[in-house]
């Protein structure tokens, strides 16, 4: 259950933090949450949280835009102009950062605990 709590907290707080700060606030948030809340499988939790956060925001901006920009970005990056791939890659990049940060929070916590 703590994993679910961390998952929800990471999404909510990183959305809040990104509203005021730069993109890498997602790493700070994921790190701090798993530092405070004991989280199992923290990489997966952090990855999924940010993946879903970034993917959803990208999708929410993409649909009213009629995929104009996502399609062009999928051409700028080697993604054959496929906007769905671009949205997934967006999620994966964010997810990786969230995952690694969450994992490092857990490990950092263990640096000072006996478990």
């Amino acid at each position: 259950m703590k994993a679910l709590l961390s998952f929800i907290l990471i999404i909510l707080l990183s959305a809040f933090a990104e509203y005021f700060g730069p993109w890498w606030m997602i790493a700070v948030v994921a790190f701090l949450i798993t530092l405070i809340v004991r989280t199992r499988r923290s990489f997966l939790v952090g990855f999924l949280a940010i993946f879903i956060f970034w993917f959803s925001v990208a999708l929410m901006r993409d649909i009213p835009n009629g995929h104009i920009l996502s399609t062009r970005m999928a051409g700028v990056l080697p993604l054959h102009g496929n906007y769905i791939l671009f949205l997934i890659v967006t999620g994966i990049i964010g997810g990786l950062v969230g995952g690694v940060a969450a994992w490092s929070g857990t490990m950092f916590r263990r640096l000072f605990s006996n478990k």
Binding site: P22, W24, F31, V76, L96, V97, M107
Partner: protein
């Protein structure tokens, strides 16, 4: 090993660092892909509501901006300050990155943002004296209260828009992609932009290559192949126009040693056949409606965001519509409620080169009139992203900056120091001309306005609602002795210096000519009766076609004018193909016969889907190469005689066929080039033979990213046809205006009003442009409220 548990944290930090910085031309992926602040923040809603109420303390009063369905702003202000302030604000709002990049390019500051790959380009720009010229123009601009007030307000508007950006999230898309930030606008940036245009339009010169060719060929052959003016020109100012008596007498050719020598292959710039434009005006006596019609299609580099931005400007004493250059206030080409005007480039030579004689053993000095003179050295600090600044020394002489020398050899490897004297270096104030032109009410006011337009020289066509048409070959020119500046000159002798300036009112012009129409398409400006000597780089073929068509349209209407702008008839093909077909005999070859038959049935129009057009173009290329490749073995092909000259020689040879060894030789050349053509065509993939696929007209994004560009457009024509759509340049704005009781105007450009690749308005005019369709331009009346159904959004700005 508990301490190892720190590793994930270090890994996170490294990963964040890598995704937050730009490496080796790759974007900072984390920053860019972040959907909250990164690129997806630039994805504009397709149904975005542009109605807004904006407070800007700098404004004097209320300004209303009506946006029509094509997002053209119609700006209504109570004074000049507010008008130009809002024009700057709106330019920045739509085109900030483009304005920034173009002025960086002008100033040689591209390396600052893209790194060392642009260093050579930047050094070249500094050596050309771009900033030197812009600084002079800034002085002239700020010396006149009208242009200074206009410019200050415009700059303030841009900067207040930049100030409204709250950070990375709000930056235009390309800043995020390339990784830099907008910087404050200054008045000199607008001067730089105009110098950038001047360089684009007058920077081309054949002085260096002609000097080389003259040393290569006997004089009579040189004059035959590279005539000073081509025969049978239909000049901009019609033949027979009587010119005023000149106030200056022609200077005598001095007796000194006048010429520099260049014997090395040192070609500077490419012959860019047809970086031209068309404009014409038809008098009411020759139109269906009885009102004059004015047309203009300037041919420039085809890029996205487009060079042009459509806008209407209204103050109590002005109501003007047309295209503006984002980065400069006012309207460059357009019409107001009294008159219309259009520009084509006037290729009179205003850029001359001088060979500098260095003082042996003292690299700080050069010889001039037998004396040693010290260079004025300028240190150019060029910022390079990711590296230390690069410092280049540019030597300034009495002639101007040394553009090439051993430290920066010309492309052909020329190491001799060459200095350049160029009208674009002078303190000229084209913005004042624009300011006055936008407000001109009649022909005398038009003439007064354009007297301030010095460089780049333009053929300015004019039509007004009173029924007048006129044409001026306008610019600041020098009273030269015969051939002065046609070749590289001896820079050690004062007799080669530029002399007096020709009074601008003596520039070639004509008002209401008997023929009832006027046109220009970069051809020679005058016939030989014009009293001042000049040379230039003139192209004739489009002018022949336009004048031919106009002479056969006694009751022209708007549809005729639009059709003429779309015209793809090749004069070159019409004159050469019959001769070429008569010389081949390959009826036994099935493939050859197929192509010969298609050429025989061809009407010489370079239509997009035409296969005969492709065959002809390939054949002509082959013939042209075969004709000149031996004579000009070591000369790059862009310096060979002009295609129209080659055509004239072919026709002349064909006139006398009996006992003419030249005719036999020509026939052999034609028939061999046809065999090569059949071979080259065999290599073209099936389904790729249509002309538009072969030439591949592309509208390229300024950052050269294919995903933001549009290629393979289905459009016909070539540089030598009226519809001059080449692969990367062509009609950048097409306009047709009928100056009747009601002004009826149509226009289109290949792009869209928004510079944002994430907007549906980024390239929404492109299909219409390709298909040759026009939009009715909404010329709103000069009133505080509007009831036009074309208005979609209203933007209200107030202090």
């Amino acid at each position: 090993m508990r301490a190892l548990r720190i590793i994930p944290l270090l890994l996170t930090i490294v990963l964040v660092y890598l995704l937050d910085t730009y490496h080796a031309g790759l974007p900072a992926f984390g920053k860019l892909l972040d959907p909250v602040n990164g690129c997806m923040a630039n994805a504009e809603k397709n149904n975005k509501d542009f109605n807004a109420d904006i407070k800007q303390a700098a404004l004097h009063g209320k300004v209303t901006v009506w946006l029509d369905e094509r997002m053209v702003p119609h700006i209504h202000a109570t004074d000049d300050h507010d008008l130009y302030y809002v024009e700057g604000y709106i330019h920045a709002c739509n085109r900030l990155w483009q304005m920034d990049m173009e002025t960086r390019a002008a100033a040689g500051r591209v390396s600052e943002v893209v790194g060392s790959k642009a260093l050579k380009f930047d050094r070249g720009q500094r050596r050309k004296g771009m900033v030197y010229g812009a600084a002079h123009s800034l002085q002239a601009l700020e010396a006149d209260p009208r242009s200074k007030a206009m410019m200050d307000a415009y700059t303030a508007g841009i900067n207040d828009y930049i100030g409204s950006l709250k950070g990375y999230k709000d930056y235009p898309f390309e800043y995020k992609l390339i990784g830099f930030a907008p910087e404050q606008w200054t008045n000199i940036k607008s001067c730089l932009l105009l110098k950038y245009m001047a360089d684009d339009l007058t920077g081309y010169t054949e002085d260096i290559p002609l000097t080389y060719l003259r040393s290569l060929l006997p004089a009579d052959e040189f004059n035959l192949l590279f005539p000073e003016k081509i025969e049978e020109s239909t000049p901009v100012i019609p033949k027979g126009t009587v010119f005023d008596k000149p106030s200056l007498s022609a200077p005598l050719v001095p007796n000194d040693s006048l010429w520099g020598s260049i014997t090395n292959a040192d070609v500077e710039e490419k012959r860019n056949e047809g970086k031209g434009s068309n404009n014409w005006a038809v008098s009411g006596s020759r139109t269906q409606s009885g009102a004059p019609i004015l047309c203009n299609d300037p041919h420039l580099g085809l890029n996205l965001p487009s060079l042009w931005y459509e806008v209407q400007l209204q103050t109590p004493d002005m109501n003007v519509y047309g295209v503006s250059l984002p980065g400069a206030p006012g309207i460059v080409i357009g019409f107001n409620d009294s008159l219309a005007w259009g520009f084509t480039n006037n290729y009179r030579d205003v850029k001359d080169f001088y060979e500098i004689k260095e003082v042996q053993n003292d690299k700080n000095k050069y010889w001039f009139n037998g004396k040693q003179i010290a260079y004025e050295m300028k240190y150019e600090h060029i910022g390079v992203k990711g590296q230390d600044d690069y410092i280049d020394t540019v030597d300034y002489t009495i002639h101007g900056p040394v553009i090439y020398d051993a430290r920066f050899p010309g492309p052909g490897g020329i190491k001799k120091p060459l200095a350049v004297t160029w009208m674009a270096h002078k303190a000229t104030n084209e913005l004042l001309a624009i300011y006055l032109l936008n407000r001109a009410k009649d022909y005398p006011e038009f003439v007064d306005a354009i007297m301030n337009f010095q460089c780049p020289a333009q053929n300015m066509v004019y039509a007004d609602r009173a029924g007048n048409i006129a044409m001026w070959g306008q610019g600041q020119f020098v009273n030269k002795w015969k051939e002065q500046g046609r070749f590289v000159m001896n820079g050690a002798d004062s007799s080669t210096l530029w002399g007096d300036l020709i009074p601008m009112r003596e520039n070639p012009h004509v008002l209401n000519p008997e023929q009832g129409y006027l046109s220009s398409a970069n051809q020679s400006v005058t016939d030989s009766t014009y009293p001042y000597w000049y040379n230039g780089y003139f192209y004739e073929l489009r002018a022949w076609r336009i004048n031919d068509r106009l002479s056969k349209l006694p009751h022209a209407n708007i549809d005729d004018m639009e059709a003429l702008q779309q015209d793809t008839y090749s004069i070159l093909a019409a004159n050469t193909l019959p001769i070429m077909l008569a010389a081949v005999n390959m009826q036994e070859n099935v493939t050859a016969k197929k192509y010969i038959d298609s050429l025989k049935n061809w009407d010489y129009y370079l239509r997009p889907e035409s296969i005969a057009a492709t065959v002809y173009q390939v054949w002509w290329e082959n013939y042209y190469a075969d004709k000149w490749k031996d004579k000009f073995k070591n000369v790059p092909d862009d310096l060979w005689p002009l295609p129209e000259r080659t055509m004239q020689l072919m026709m002349a040879t064909n006139l006398v066929r009996e006992n003419n060894p030249n005719a036999t030789e020509q026939d052999l050349l034609i028939s061999n080039s046809f065999k090569q053509t059949i071979d080259s065509i065999a290599k073209i993939a099936a389904g790729k033979m249509e002309w538009y696929k072969q030439k591949n007209t592309t509208i390229q994004h300024l950052a050269k990213l294919p995903a933001l560009s549009f290629g393979n457009l289905k459009i016909g024509g070539w540089g030598n046809t009226v519809n001059a759509a080449k692969s990367n340049h062509g009609p950048s704005w097409r306009m047709v205006v009928q100056m009747g009781k009601e002004i009826e105007a149509y226009g289109v450009y290949p792009g869209g009003q928004s510079g944002n690749p994430g907007s549906k308005y980024y390239a929404d005019f492109l299909d219409s442009w390709v298909e040759g369709k026009y939009y009715r331009l909404q010329f709103l009346p000069n009133t505080v409220t509007q009831n036009s159904s074309a208005i979609k959004y209203t933007l209200s700005l107030h202090p």
